[in-house]
Amino acid sequence: MTGTSVTRTSRAARVAAILGAVVVVILIAAPWWAGRADMRLMGEIFLYLSLACLWNLLAGYAGLVSVGQQAYVGFGGYMLFALTMFAGLPPVAAIAIAGVLGALISVPVAALIFRLRGAYFAIGTWVIAEVFRLAFAQASALGGGSGTSLPTSIVRSLADGRSARESLSYWLALGMGLAVIAAVFLLLRSRRGLALTAIRDNELAAGSLGIDIWRTKFVVYVIVSALTAMVGALIFLQKLRISPDAAFSVNDWTAFVIFIVVIGGIGTIEGPIIGTLIFFALRETLADLGTIYLMVLGFVAIIVMLKAPKGVWGLIRDRFDVQFFPLGYRVLRDPKKGP
């Protein structure tokens, strides 16, 4: 009998980890080698990457297809403005507290919309986002329907000098992106992640094995809401201006994110990363086309969903059988133990 051993990692994963570490070091050093415009673009990429990873966790793993994540992006943005302007908090602390508040508000929201099944859940999340938008449009202290700008004194408090501020803002975005990927990876490798993967593959079977489905989904929803609110705070720290329509835009914070995840490959960690790179490559080359560009994006997403529902990463994985983020277990033949 051939001896076997079980392992989580693989050579591809180890190579990917080393390459990933090198890329991270290069990215951290960006303020010393990249121009101002490039850094802004990369900051935006990291924040979209965060949103995509979070939506993927929600829809791809927990089966909670939300089209209302703009609720938490906008909420986080508004909390950043409110906490810095009225409570006098430093921006970085306000971002963290925006996350805590996002988690708190997501609890009653989840209790309500978890009553809706499947596709109706999706539209229910959109209603919540609309309620948030209309409520903040009523807040006259935050500029009502026309919005408000972050006072320069608060912007100055971030760091001394413009380049220091831009570097800090970039590092925060990079840190957020890395933290979200790490959080998703660790969550999926944990006991809860195993339950989540089981629910993704077959909800009925998972339930009959004793997994508390409602609770597992609820925990994921709250975690994703908190992190999405923090991403939202960072987005509007970069924009320095907020209005209800921009903060709760379904196109900017949900449609693009869904396209990124679908094109990259839903239900995998690698998918959103690849999707983000494809999305920005398309945007930088086709953005001049305006509305046509959005139509192309819609067509691509529909074709991917119909013809290759696992996305670009699914195609790569089926072809080469690789996994950069080791989540599964593999059984290996062990020549040393074998006869």
Partner: protein, 287 residues
Amino acid sequence: MEWANAILQGTLLGGLYALFAAGLSLIFGVMRLVNIAHGDLIVMAAYFGLSTTVMLGVHPLVALVLVVPAMAGFGYILQRGVLNHTLGDDILPPLLVTFGLSVIIQNALLEAYSADPQKMNAGALETASIGLGPLAIGVLPLLTFGIAVAVIAGLQWTFYRTALGRAFRAVSDDQDTAQLMGLNKAHVFGLAMALALAVTAIAGVLLGIRTSFDPSIGGGRLIFGFEAVIIGGLGNLWGTLAGGIILGVAQTLGAAVNPGWQLLAGHVAFLIVLAVRPNGLFPRISG
């Protein structure tokens, strides 16, 4: 008297919301599909109506003769060409494909008609009203409400009294058995979507006469229709009318208190129903 007026106007507005909702309710009932692009299809029908009135110089209501069959044909092709391929146990494909469709329709309308708000001109019909004591009832809202009642009665009759309705109910109950009994489910689904978009066409044209519209308002119309369906209870067409009326009344009452609260009051009414009666007020099937 101000309140009585708000309730009356809200009830009539509810007719329009019921028309938004009827198509949504129909396709969910037949094939468990929730069409995220539904609101954008309503707006598309409004633009269709606009083009017809401008090019042929006819009254918007006459334009329905063209818009209804055009939307129904579009619905049949859309269902057989795209949406049938998304149906199955997984809810992701239909959701994401209709979401993509929503973005495509919105931007195609933007490209063709620009972002400027448009409105259809229905002449004297827009301002005509009937006095009822101290209240005035607009003829257009009243007509809209009447059409909504007629459409829902017609759908109800189709569902329970015709061979087509029997086919709808059969595929809704058990697709595979219906297929074995000689029904072509792909064709039946196509017909259901055609019927749903025919109703959508009526809703779109009435919307375009009532208020100005632009390519971005589809999402809001989808949400109104969806709220009417959930308030009324899944699978119950008359319940959907009741849901539309409750939503309309909540909005006009909210607006009577503070003009900024109109939409918020409607959403809050929906959330209250969801909290108290999660299956809606008059449910017939479970989601």
